[in-house]
Symmetry: C2
Subunit: 142 residues, 2 copies
DNA sequence: GTCAATGCAAAATATTTGCATTCGT
DNA sequence: ACGAATGCAAATATTTTGCATTGAC
């Protein structure tokens, strides 16, 4: 997805700030909060003198348009570039996030929605637990 | 679950505030935020003169001990009494929440965790969409 | 009486908004 | 040039914390 073209199509201006917010998310394998992004960009592009409000506004705009998505964590929303739909396994000890996709579950979700006369637009599924390493660390503690 | 006995077992004091926070959640069919609870209790038990900090502290304590659970909504955590595990269908138009449980999905979640060497402790799954009434309203608008 | 729990107010966090200025087209 | 987008600072909203006081046991 070309950001410049996308913005043009929406009648929005292409700006250095929007470009960098998008590319920073694009090039970062992690899920980032608005604050994270703000700090990273401030460090990597000090000449830009970016404002936190711009980060929030841009993230909201990109999210509304489906270019990025987020998971709601205890410390706020964490954003990522929208790829094909996937859900998350989250380690409660080290915070590691693993993405996965499962068609069977998606079908069952649709079935449940149908049974309740809901028309689904979206969903979140987050599985919390301990990753392999943190399970080992747990054992060592004992 | 008897709150008084539970607190005793944990070495915690039984207080009027804790009793009322718990019973208010218990008797309310809705999912309530800390703020919601604070306002309801203030109205229904003005003599108690409850503080918002007590509500937050009590909810955190009850949640840590598994007596209540919450779903993370855009406007904060919404609490409910812990019943047998279930997930949520949420109408994005009117905010209606429908609870459901599906064993097949739970099994698939365990399978996914196993494939990724995670040991699951918990999960959240929220399906967003339009409930029957709001779908009708949508149509009427056009 | 002792220590846990509370209310209050202040602090910390997270996010949004108003507005003058800058920038993209 | 014009309106959209920005940075800044102030405003909001949400949750947490310090502390003196109250209340449970």
């Amino acid at each position: 997805m070309n950001l410049r073209e996308f913005l043009k199509k929406q009648g929005l201006n292409f700006t250095k700030q929007r470009e960098i917010i998008f590319s920073t998310l694009y090039n970062n394998p992690n899920h980032l909060t608005a604050e994270d992004l703000y700090l990273v960009i401030k460090k990597q592009h000090p000449e830009l003198n970016i404002g936190i409000a711009t980060v929030y506004r841009t993230l909201a705009m990109l999210e509304e348009n489906g270019l990025i998505s987020f998971i709601q964590c205890s410390n706020g929303k964490k954003f990522e570039i929208s790829k094909s739909h996937h859900d998350h396994l989250i380690c409660t000890a080290c915070g590691k996030i693993v993405e996965f996709h499962n068609n069977e579950i998606e079908k069952l979700q649709e079935k449940i929605a149908k049974e309740n006369s809901f028309k689904l637009t979206n969903h979140i599924m987050q599985l919390y637990g301990l990753c392999e390493e943190c399970q080992k660390k747990e054992k060592e503690k004992l």
